[in-house]
Amino acid sequence: MRFSRTGRRGIALTALAAATTLFAAGCSAGSLGSAGGEGSAGATTITLLSGATDTEVASAKAVIEAFQAANPNITVKHDTRPGGSEGDNLVKTRLATGEMAEVFIYNNGSLLQAIKPEQNLAPLDDQPWAGQLDELFAASSKGSDGKLYGGPYGTAFGGGVLYNIPVYKKLGLEVPKTWDEFMANNKKIKEAGGVDPVEQTYGETWTSQLFVLGDYYNVEAAVPNFAADYTANKVKYATTPEALAGFQHIQDVKDAGYFNKDFASAKLNDGMKAVATGAAAHYPQLGASAANTENVAPGKSNDVGFFALPGNDAAKNGMTVWPGTTAMYIPKSVEGDKLAAAKKLVEFATTQQGCDAYIKGNPPQGPFLSKACHLPSEISQVAKDTQAYFESGNAGPALEFKSPVKGPALEQICIQVGTGQVDAKKGAELYDQDVKKQAQQLGLPGWE
């Protein structure tokens, strides 16, 4: 019977943890007020919480170092958190318990809405840099009250297809503008042999979503009102052919046998290596992932190019972009010297000095989010390709920046389609069910 008690205790512990956080949430505002009072000698210490991947850590450290050199009486400690849904959870819990670092880096867009910025974060509208932001970034870093809560951090990047330039040159292929051209390229690559047409890496589940997420520019080009109607529960993925196309594309590629052999177990770095070395021709991915190319395949950075996921209409070809998935935030509970120091750090990241420090740790894959910053002359091919879409005006934000509705299980559902457990239509239906939970949790009208 010992085990059954443990089982019940497991549940009890969950509830206890929950109850404790609730209790703590009730008194957080008061208890944290006193924390702002330390550091009497004019020296202030604040903490910056960032993600934990190699590039995130390197860029955060570089920014801190440059900031401390410019502000000798402020000490910034660095702390890291996991990514993905585990990180979401940690951020929510730390905000609820009043344990959040003075400055933290977290997603904007739909994930920002889920942490209730109006309740938990300090508004930054009055900051001097607020007027010089990329419009897409500013729009997706606001709360439902219209106030700006996020400071720019890093660069924008696209979601599309990384491709191996030498393979394209050898086979005389051209960058596809429609899905049919893309499939025709795949066919030629497959026939030539030796190279996998499309790389997939289900060993790291989030990488499976690009076919759907990266296709949003095409959805909006065909159905301009999609985001608003989708938020209001008027249109669905399964019943909108243009939206369903993302799921259909996974099935098309899978049915044609274009995936790499180890697609079910390979990881992001395996995929990056494959597309950089020419073992695979295409890898649907975030442009930001290319920042790590030099580490996984030294000397191959310029062999990787980038194009938008093609849709049906060559004339409307454009790239779905992430106007910086991350921004810097300050919790509302920060006061006094610490608040001033925190605001200085956020401001520093918007200056050319801050931007230069950032890209030391994380090579840029797209334009900066602060208009005060300019890219260096030497940037990667992926960054050049991405910037071309921005400059020609053929770039639009991903759905998660236009609608707070994003289901948590999209990655698993894409894998279900990619491994043939369900077909595209069924996958889209499952995703529609999945987003319903998110919409209800957010209390959006029209979803009850």
Binding site: F3, I11, A15, D88, A114, D262, S265, P408, Q421, L430
Partner: protein, 308 residues
Amino acid sequence: MASTVGTTEATPSAPVVPKTTRRKERKGTYPYWFYLPATIIYTIFFLVPTFASFYFSFTRWDLFTSTWIGLKNYQTFFAEQALITGLGNTLIYAVITSGLKVVLGMALALLLTSKIIARGYLRSVVFFPVLVSTIGVGLTFTVLMNPEKGLINNALAVVGIDGPGWLTNPSLALFSIAFVDVWKGVGLATVIYIAGLVSIPQEYYEAAEVDGASRWNIFRNIMLPLARPATATVITLSLIGGLRSFDLIWAMTKGGPGFASDVIASVIYKQYQAGFYGLSTAGSVVLFLVVTIIVVPLTWWLNRGEES
């Protein structure tokens, strides 16, 4: 005690006096406030959270605020595609692991109680996996079971067999994890069975041998029935362990590919990760009920058999 009861019956006119005496006697032996520390701890860490979780399972809760929504969380939870697979998977997983642990545990116990070379050493070898961290075991087997680079498929390739994707094939993944669970847990079942078999009095075997019973008869009619308490323990422990298993599955596949190896516990955890706190609490309540519904009658049945 007997005399006190006798007094009560003999003097029905004054029943109050002996009752008070009895209470005083008990109070003298064990003061009630001795219970206090345990009660406080039990209330704070068990009762309050349990009842709080029942309450929160009826709300939409985001850690900051909660809204009462009645049974909707339960509705959503049971409409969840992953849950339907998960519920089936949980039962399959629990039955497979528990069944294999009973059969293999018994077989190994028979082997390890017989007179074989290096018995003590073999006993520790069988028990060793129990001591290793589940997460460690999970990660190790994930590497071993990698379809392209894993040792298992490389070994199979040597003898010309093209090994399957143990964890990446949706119809195989759950069984691969169940196999690892059995590998890790069979040691405990074996130890319980060894204890059960060793405690069977030698006389039974002697009497059976005098009667000319075959080895099978001895096993079937002496060992199996007399090891019943051990069987009951192994089944109860492994079934509950299987029903609420999470760590190994999370370490190996996180419920994937897709939802193919999701069980109730991993579905609950995913809802929690996604920030659906009310929904995941409702899931915990469902898991609590499922475990209770299966295990309480089972324990009752197994123990009743033991008494008769």
